[in-house]
Amino acid sequence: MTEDVDSPRDLIKLTHEKLSSDVVSTSVTCPSCGAISMFIGTTRDTFEGQKVIQLEYEAYVPMAELEMKKICTSIRAEWPTVRHICIQHRLGVVPVMEASVIVGISSPHRADSLEAVRFCIDTLKATVPIWKKEVYETEEASWKQNKECLWSVAGKK
């Protein structure tokens, strides 16, 4: 338990591999933190009544990593007791019920990591250049738009 082991880590990953909540929670665990808060975004099987058979994510990878890093910086400014932050986003085809994104944040006390997780996922949806295409049973497909994104149809209202 040297100081070094426990110094704050920003762990950012974009990957085509399946995500694991155990890997994320372990990566942010630290001996001085009593709280780990996590958010897992999973792919849903329906959209407005249409059956979704597949989801596919693509990213502007280096810029997505930069924007995730900016989120980490903002979290540390707002919640200085936050210790470790892990943000993983899956790319490519994500089957229904599997995780597309996992956020894990540790802090000595729970209020900070709970609030920071919410900020993290809200901000990720607004600022990180990643796109999702839903493919429906009808073989139609649609590029989704987060309402949190300021230049989306919903975001402009």
């Binding site: 975004g41 994510y57 693509e58 990213a59 502007y60 280096p62 810029m63 997505a64 930069l66 986003h89 597309s100 994104v101 996922i121 990720l124 949806k125 607004a126 600022t127 990180v128 250049p129 990643i130 796109w131 999702k132 295409k133 590029w143 989704k144 738009q145 987060n146 949190e148 994104c149 230049w151 989306s152 149809v153 975001g155 402009k156």
Partner: protein, 86 residues
């Protein structure tokens, strides 16, 4: 002055242009709206996302407007349709 930049397309933008990326010669000084117009001129189908798009220049977001940008050879420009990560 003309700069040779890489332009990246994603999601709907890639579908509309049929391209993931291309190398384009562009004026070195222009507004972000002019930059968009240059790209839309090359790919008229991009007009369908004109109202819901921003650009990224050297991996920083810029809205379409009067703000001027300087482009150097090798710079990266990206067309950014509405985000849907998470």
């Amino acid at each position: 002055m003309i700069s040779e930049v890489s332009v990246l397309y994603f999601a709907k933008g890639a579908e509309l242009t049929g391209l993931k990326s291309e190398t384009v010669k562009l004026p070195s000084e222009l507004t972000t709206l002019q930059l968009w117009q240059e790209l839309e001129g090359r790919h008229p189908k991009l007009s369908v996302i004109r109202e819901q798009v921003v650009l990224a220049v050297r991996q920083e977001y810029v809205a379409l407007g009067d703000q001027s940008v300087s482009l150097r050879d090798g710079d990266e420009v990206a067309v950014i349709p509405p985000l849907s990560g998470g």
